[in-house]
């Protein structure tokens, strides 16, 4: 069965017909050629497919495309202005926070989402009981643990995010 959906991706409007079994990840990658979003597991276990869906970090492999009608999707490609890289883009490059780069767009979307969550005061398992969460390395590590990196760039990912979060 197919359904027609409309959505905005990185500021552009799209309308497309999707098989109701199609994930948002496959709709982006195969249907629309938006390959900034990566497939690492298709199971919700690696974070490579993370996008911002209406501003929240979301695993696109666990989201059926039909459920995203009328939403706004931002991938790592769409973060930042047209010719202006997002501060996270810069910080990841400066800190060499990746190697093969396959997990990286997901890491960056996840980092953007988690900085927003932190700003909004959402606690994590690393937040001391009863206190407001503060941007420190333990918070970053905890909140970024849904994004696997087999190249082992974690320590540089932490420093990149600290740099950007500290600036804001």
């Amino acid at each position: 069965m197919e359904t027609e959906i409309k959505l905005r991706i990185n500021g552009e409007r799209y309308s497309l017909r999707v098989d109701t079994r199609t994930t948002l990840l496959d709709a982006l990658r195969e249907g629309l050629g938006v390959t900034s979003t990566k497939k690492g597991c298709d199971h919700g276990q690696c974070g490579s497919c993370t996008v911002l869906l209406d501003g929240r970090r979301t695993l696109s492999c666990l989201t059926l495309a039909v459920t995203t009608d009328d939403t706004e999707i931002v991938t790592a490609e769409g973060l930042g202005g047209d010719n202006e890289p997002h501060p996270l883009h810069r910080a990841f490059i400066d800190n060499d926070a990746f190697q093969c780069g396959y997990c990286t767009p997901g890491q960056i979307c996840s980092a953007a989402g988690m900085l927003t969550e932190l700003d909004a005061g959402h606690p994590s398992a690393a937040t001391p009981q009863g206190s407001e969460p503060r941007l420190d390395d333990d918070e970053i590590r905890e909140r970024m643990s849904g994004n696997l990196c087999r190249c082992g760039a974690y320590s540089h990912i932490v420093s990149a995010i600290r740099e950007v979060g500290g600036r804001a």
């Binding site: 990658r29 900034s36 990566k38 199971h43 990841f92 190697q99 093969c100 780069g101 767009p105 087999r150």
Partner: protein, 690 residues
């Protein structure tokens, strides 16, 4: 970062040139090339472990809307696999391991392909299978040229003041690069184009050409960006062959095959489990008189792969008596393959834990014990080392880590409910130089184009090769443009064995030199020169990288939870061409080492012959929160005896020794000696102290 971001000269911390595309996600990996009217391939995998396919029922699958073809051994194109038995896909009715592809569906959408694959019925004759690895098997065999004997190990053991004699084990592990293997294959009736996720464009090119009996100019392999490999994307595996077979079934249509994460545990190799009986004999001062490592590992019944875990013990420490052996069990499994530091990763776990046990038994500091056993020459081959820098690494590591004040007593430090310990181990990896690379320099539009069929699997080749070319040409790095990852470029050896940068580097240097000789400093537009690199390392030397790893481990006294809050590696790997990307590689290796120490374990069910832990929920790898403070430093020691670039490989040494350092720190924290990986809570809760 601490390094000044410099001009890009070799030796400077130039940022990755592929960085902007990678952080946006616009660097294209194999599966991401836009294709007109693509078809999708989905595999049907055997549900038995050993036997024969009696019949394939494809009627229901063919009836699914959008299905273009169902392949099986009854209709697939015949190929000539030669010795490459792993690649003889759909060539016979034989089933050699559980999960082997026995059929495949090509369809217009991935959903249709997957649905139809589930509808393919396969009848089997089932034979008995055997997937159990044990050192007690009576059918173990000795692969060629993997045993060495010097002196008399047994006599030395009998005479020694102190001996260590234990069996250590490392489990089956799966490489699991974040990008699963992927192929797009396009066959137009006469030639084949492959977008392939590979560490070795040239190897894919020549292997596929020979399997399918095609002239080499009829095959092109493209792989500019590769989402990690860690050895699994070095040799070819079944999926790429299947993609080619499928492409031939639907000429003119690009066929896309993305290996699923679950299939990554079946189709593309693994690190064999190892059982290592390690024996050490020493006098009261800790001087070794004997070193033994008897390794048992597994291979597939249909092909042979040796996890050479005994190799490091041949050259690591001085001892007149030595016995290194490898025995294999041929099992009904898929073939093991290279995984980051094949041989050395397990081979620097067992002996380095044994050294710690010896240090404890003799009450000698573990660093001091290793210093006392520094060999003058390679004790296995009696060749001089091109450079031997382990002592410097250990001394510098001790200083940076604060090792000097360490109280050696195990199990006596407790903070806030956590037992605290520190440990160390040595690292090593051979400095390999692969023959067969060429590079071309062209001068076009005021720029030097470097063309070489190398691969960047995350190592930084896009950046570092440009730096090497700029250095050799005597120009700024901005004047060089790098072209890699395509079989139409001059042939290059694989990105593996920590050999890429140095092997390609010799070709780049040779090409630059020849270019200047032919065309001078002011070349005409269009000037071009190709040259071959080195044909192998200088056989007069034993060339290795070295390192020392120091770990702090906390173990929760009630729950047994293990944490590694601090890890330091000090390495010596020749000339460092780009400190920024080099540090990432060392740290990446160490991070995978923590993963090996604490998490990775593929569990096989002997009844069904399959790996049970087929995803990241069951097969744990280190996540961000598992990694604490991690620091990699190095001693700058250009080694021009190892090869003309002065550099040695850095991709693998970081994982060697890490797990031993963690296990040794675990012992220091808890008093429990771990000889089996991974170290999980039960090691502490059920372990015996002492």
């Amino acid at each position: 970062m601490t390094q000044a971001i410099a001009t890009g000269d070799a030796g400077s911390a130039m940022r990755r040139v592929d960085g902007p595309d990678k952080v946006r996600g616009t660097a294209r990996y194999a599966f991401e090339y836009p294709m007109k009217e693509p078809a999708y391939l989905h595999l049907v995998q055997s549900t038995i472990t050993r036997g024969r396919v009696r019949a394939v029922h494809d009627g229901a699958a063919l009836a699914v809307q959008g299905v273009l073809a169902v392949l099986s051994h009854t209709n697939a194109t015949r190929i000539d696999p030669g010795d490459e038995t792993e690649l003889a896909v759909l060539q016979s009715d034989g089933v050699a391991y559980r999960g082997q592809p026995v059929a495949a569906v090509v369809a217009k959408t991935p959903e249709a392909a997957r649905e139809a694959a589930a509808l393919v019925g396969v009848d089997y004759d089932v034979y008995q299978h055997d997937v159990h690895l044990s050192a007690a098997r009576t059918d173990l065999f000795a692969p060629d040229d993997t045993d060495t004997h010097q002196g008399d190990l047994e006599a030395a053991m009998a005479e020694a003041d102190t001996v260590i004699d234990h069996v250590y084990s490392t489990p089956m592990q799966h490489n699991n690069p974040m990008e699963p293997h992927a192929t797009i294959a396009l066959w137009d009736g006469t030639s084949l184009i492959l977008h392939e996720s590979t560490q070795a464009v040239r190897m894919v090119h020549t292997t596929i050409a020979s399997l399918f009996g095609l002239e080499r100019d009829r095959v092109r392999v493209i792989a500019p960006y590769v989402g990690g490999g860690f050895g699994a994307k070095g040799p070819l595996h079944a999926p790429v062959v299947l993609a080619c077979l499928a492409a031939m079934a639907v000429p003119g249509r690009p066929v896309k095959l993305a290996v699923t994460r679950r299939q990554m545990f079946t189709l593309v190799g693994y690190r064999s489990p190892t059982l290592q009986r390690v024996r050490l004999a020493a006098d009261a001062q800790g001087r070794l008189s004997a070193v033994g490592d008897d390794v048992t590992a597994q291979s597939a019944r249909f092909t042979q792969f040796v996890e050479r875990a005994g190799d490091p013990s041949r050259m690591m420490y001085a001892a007149p008596n030595r016995r290194i052996t490898h025995r294999l069990a041929a099992l009904d499994t898929n073939a093991p393959t290279w995984m980051r530091a094949p041989g050395e990763a397990p081979g620097m776990f067992a002996p380095e834990v044994a050294m710690d046990e010896l240090a404890c038994a003799l009450d000698i500091d573990p660093v001091e014990l290793r210093l006392r056993n520094e060999p003058e020459v390679d004790p296995g081959t009696h060749k001089p080392f091109s450079s031997r820098t382990l002592a410097e690494c250990m001394r510098e590591g001790s200083r940076l880590f604060g090792w000097a004040d360490r109280d050696p007593a195990p199990g006596v430090r407790r903070h806030d409910g956590w037992l605290v310990g520190t440990g160390m181990a040595a690292s090593t990896y051979p400095a390999l130089l692969m023959p067969g690379s060429s590079a071309e320099i062209r001068f076009e539009k005021g720029r030097y184009e470097l063309r070489i069929g190398a691969s960047d699997i995350g190592t930084g080749a896009w950046t570092v090769l440009g730096q090497l070319a700029a250095e050799a040409l005597g120009v700024g790095v901005d004047a060089v443009r790098v072209h890699i990852g395509d079989s139409t470029l001059p042939a290059a050896s694989l990105a593996g064995g920590s050999s890429g940068t140095v092997s390609w580097g010799t070709a780049i240097t040779a090409a630059a030199r020849a270019f200047r000789e032919e065309h001078g400093d002011t070349p005409a537009p269009g000037a071009r020169t190709t040259a071959r690199g080195s044909d192998g390392a200088d056989e007069n030397y034993s060339a290795h990288s070295f390192g020392a790893q120091f770990a702090e481990v906390h173990v929760h006294a009630d729950t047994g939870e293990v944490r590694v809050p601090r890890l330091l590696g000090v390495f010596s790997a020749g000339r460092i061409i780009n400190p920024l990307t080099a540090r990432s590689q060392f740290i990446g290796g160490m991070t995978m080492g923590v993963s090996m120490a604490l998490h990775e374990h593929s569990v096989v069910d002997p009844r069904f012959g399959h790996v049970v832990t087929q995803d990241f929920a069951d097969y744990h790898i280190s996540v961000n929160a598992d990694i604490g403070e991690i620091r990699a430093e190095w001693i700058d020691t250009p080694d021009y005896r190892a090869n003309p670039t002065g550099a040695k490989g850095i991709g693998e040494i970081g994982i060697t020794g890490t797990a031993a350092a963690v296990a040794n720190a675990f012992h220091h924290a808890t008093g429990v000696r771990v000889r089996d990986l991974p170290i999980t809570v039960d090691a502490y809760l059920l372990g015996s102290r002492g």
